[in-house]
């Protein structure tokens, strides 16, 4: 165990010794800064501050929503109207736009972290081959299995670090631009069984968690490709391509029942929460988790077999 921690330290040291890793954090902060500026300058953040007679404001909003829906057939504001009515009925004053709302709105940025994680996962093995350092790495009294898993765990540690960074920097940037009203405000939103009140913090964590599923699966896939072919370019290309086309492919084949066994039909667990519905009716949360676990184990098994059994031959 002690030397596994040493291996993790080594991997983290190698990651953070390169500018590429730092640039990922810088890019994340940059994206949030730009997002905050856009909302601040063009957004409706300021308009949504509700005054003393907020109930009248909400009623007026609902009337506007109704007008628009009558004019345009395809635009529905049912859930917005319901949420506003809920506020009025239960005498809950809506929170103005603040750092928490900003953080929640930008939870989607964790998709970028998926991209970064894929890049790191794709390089962590193949770079050792490229640099030639794999030879010096594998002639130590440590099994190849341990080295492989230390690298995999390091990728996960880095991606969790980036998520924590994203959360903190969102709150900080949000607080600077929009202020912060309370420490853990509640949020009224449309849930699976109608309108519900949830803690905004829980909601942010849920969003991050759901994106984490996709992140881990694609990173593991990239890790496998990189171990198998010792090429980071190929691993990055393939993983990102599949990440973006995966859902489209699923939509094409959704009419067939076997489509539910495809990885990408299951990576978005959000389909079982809130007002989502599964891509294929016969799918359940338990089913998706089982499929994900099977793919996960399979990817790692392939990586492990190819890494431990293979000869380290010349360049």
């Amino acid at each position: 165990m002690l030397n596994f921690i040493s291996l993790l330290k080594n991997e983290q040291m190698k990651l953070y010794s390169r500018f590429g890793t730092w640039s990922m954090f810088i890019i994340l902060a940059g994206i949030l800064l730009v997002a905050a500026l856009i909302v601040f300058v063009f957004g409706d953040a300021n308009e949504e501050t509700y005054s003393e007679n907020w109930k009248e404001q909400l009623t007026q909003e609902n009337e506007e929503f109704l007008e628009v829906s009558e004019e345009q057939e395809y635009v529905g504001f049912d859930s917005e109207i319901a949420i506003n009515e809920y506020h009025i009925e239960n005498d809950i004053k809506p929170h103005p736009y603040d750092a928490w709302q900003f953080t929640l709105a930008n939870a989607e940025v964790s998709m970028i972290i998926s991209l970064f994680t894929i890049i790191v996962a794709a390089g962590i093995i193949s770079n050792e081959y490229r640099w030639g350092t794999i030879k010096l790495l594998l002639i130590r009294p440590i099994s190849r299995t341990k080295i492989l898993f230390s690298k995999f765990v390091s990728v996960l540690i880095l991606s969790v670090s980036m998520l924590i960074f994203l959360f903190i920097i969102s709150l900080v940037i949000g607080a600077i631009f929009f202020g912060i009203n309370s420490w853990n405000p509640d949020l009224v939103q449309m849930g699976a069984g109608g309108i519900e009140e949830v803690s905004i913090f829980t909601e942010i964590l849920t969003q991050y968690g759901l994106n984490m599923v996709n992140l881990i699966m694609m990173a593991t896939f990239a890790f496998m490709i990189s171990t198998l072919f010792r090429s980071s370019a190929m691993a990055i290309g393939l993983a990102i391509f599949l990440m973006f086309t995966g859902t489209t492919i699923i939509n094409f084949v959704a009419e067939y029942d076997w489509a539910k066994y495809i990885l990408f039909a299951n990576t978005n667990l959000g389909q079982y929460f809130g007002n989502g519905s599964p891509i294929i009716d016969s799918m359940t949360l338990g089913f998706s988790i089982t499929v994900l676990v099977i793919y996960f184990v399979l990817f790692l098994l392939v990586s492990w077999l190819s890494f431990t059994k293979r000869d380290i031959a010349g360049n």
């Binding site: 291996l7 330290k9 010794s17 010096l136 002639i139 009294p141 059994k309």
Partner: protein
Amino acid sequence: MTTSMELQDVHKSIGNKQIIKGLNFTIKKGEVFGFLGPNGAGKTTTIRMMVGLMNITSGDIKINGISIKNNFKEAIRHVGAIVENPEMYPFMTGWKNLKHYARMIPGITDERIKEVIRLVGLEKAVNEKVGKYSLGMRQRMGIAQALLHNPSILILDEPTNGLDPSGIREIRSYIRNMAEKEQVSVIVSSHLLSEIELMCDRIGIIKNGELITVEEVQDTSTENDDVTVKLDLDDNEKAMTILQDQLELETKIVQERVVANLPKSSVPQLVRKLVEEDIAIYEVAVERSRLEDKFFELIGENTIA
């Protein structure tokens, strides 16, 4: 224990092709063993099997009696190695690179790392990024990482590749030092005889995956061995006549030098004679050509890169 490493009928096949066809030899404790052969003879493959980077198709390699095949972790603990070029992480400092490898073996203190850095003379450069190092410095870093855990066997694959003459000399003296003072067994591979002849006790010659011969390298030939003597004299004609008539030696002239073959024990007599005859002697060079001849004979001159 006097045997450091033992190769037992080692075979390696890749696909249907046999690359190593049954190697058998042992390396003694405190010995510098040269592993010589033309490029592509199987030197690097053999070394990669010794350190567990490649699987052994059949046979076994034992390090201090422990099989690298069945007990990799225990066996490799005693080995320090450079396989081909000493590649390091270019974006990290020398210190971090060494720290990285030190963390992988229990019990290596920062003190030990400093000691090794002093040994290879990299004190000044250790806080610079390895990417800025010269090839010679990287080679020394390579040796430093191999020595971190006080190995009893040091394996160096082409350690002088790409080094300038002073670098080669430096490496040579390190290696001799390690063997003589620390009783470390050293295995050095090369495709150049001239390079390893000077630092090895024994040289194994490999060709097409087979060990052709293992030769002792002797610093001093025994009394009865024939040696070739090259003489730089002021009067070659006179000297040749004297040597032929009085000592009954076959002589010839090569590159303005008088060359003769004679038993080593007769060399002093030859010198005395020339002095008596009042011939000025600028140089008497005794050549140990035996190994070189044998090498060329076995390998063929053209195959040496």
